[in-house]
């Protein structure tokens, strides 16, 4: 069964450093998403991406964040200058269509900012 994959599974970084989290969505899916879950809190939407553009973003997704689809398979989330409060599980998801469509999630990347 096709699945969303994410690398790395864990990332430890120093505050102020740049990190890139990688995702390979399900191959025939056209819509891609990033969510995060800070420990003990809800899963929160960060951004959605379609046709090489951001289609929606939350207020969390500020100028420190960017997303890119550098080739036909990868979808990345970059945090330019990490803060302590960026420590969280980051989940990538994808869906085949937009409205009333199931989003399938990857296993997540646990990011720890020291």
């Amino acid at each position: 069964e096709p699945e969303v994959t994410q690398t790395p599974s864990h990332q430890v970084t120093q505050m102020g450093q740049e990190v890139i989290l990688r995702c390979v969505p399900i191959s025939n899916h056209l819509y891609f998403y990033w969510y995060r879950q800070i420990l003990g809190q809800k899963v929160e939407f960060l951004v959605s991406f379609y046709n090489n553009e951001i289609s929606e973003k939350s207020e969390i997704f500020d100028d420190q964040f960017s997303v890119e689809r550098p080739d036909g398979s990868n979808f990345t989330l970059k945090i330019r200058s990490t803060k302590l409060e960026d420590s969280a599980m980051y989940f990538c998801a994808s869906s085949e269509r937009l409205d009333q469509e199931t989003q399938y999630f990857g296993p997540g990347t646990r990011l720890l900012v020291l």
């Binding site: 969510y35 899963v43 409205d99 009333q100 989003q103 296993p107 997540g108």
Partner: protein, 112 residues
Amino acid sequence: DQQVKQNSPSLSVQEGRISILNCDYTNSMFDYFLWYKKYPAEGPTFLISISSIKDKNEDGRFTVFLNKSAKHLSLHIVPSQPGDSAVYFCAAMRSGGNKLVFGAGTILRVKS
């Protein structure tokens, strides 16, 4: 953001009995609802969904009920199995949107 609420942090059920997980929402623009199951250190796994034009959807042991007037949905698992022990998240999406809004989750423990 309290648009989707799961008021029970945990639920314990005997194997073979019914598990009922509840979810309330406040945003009347939500028209698609999903339940996800999550094990520790894994991503959310899709279980079942329901559109606002329906009041029930069933898939094997899992049934989701939607009461639009009460802005309430529930997930029934019957019979419950020990492997169902996980965190269950309710999520909602509004019409034309692509952002899922999640509840806080309910930890289900099925005792054998």
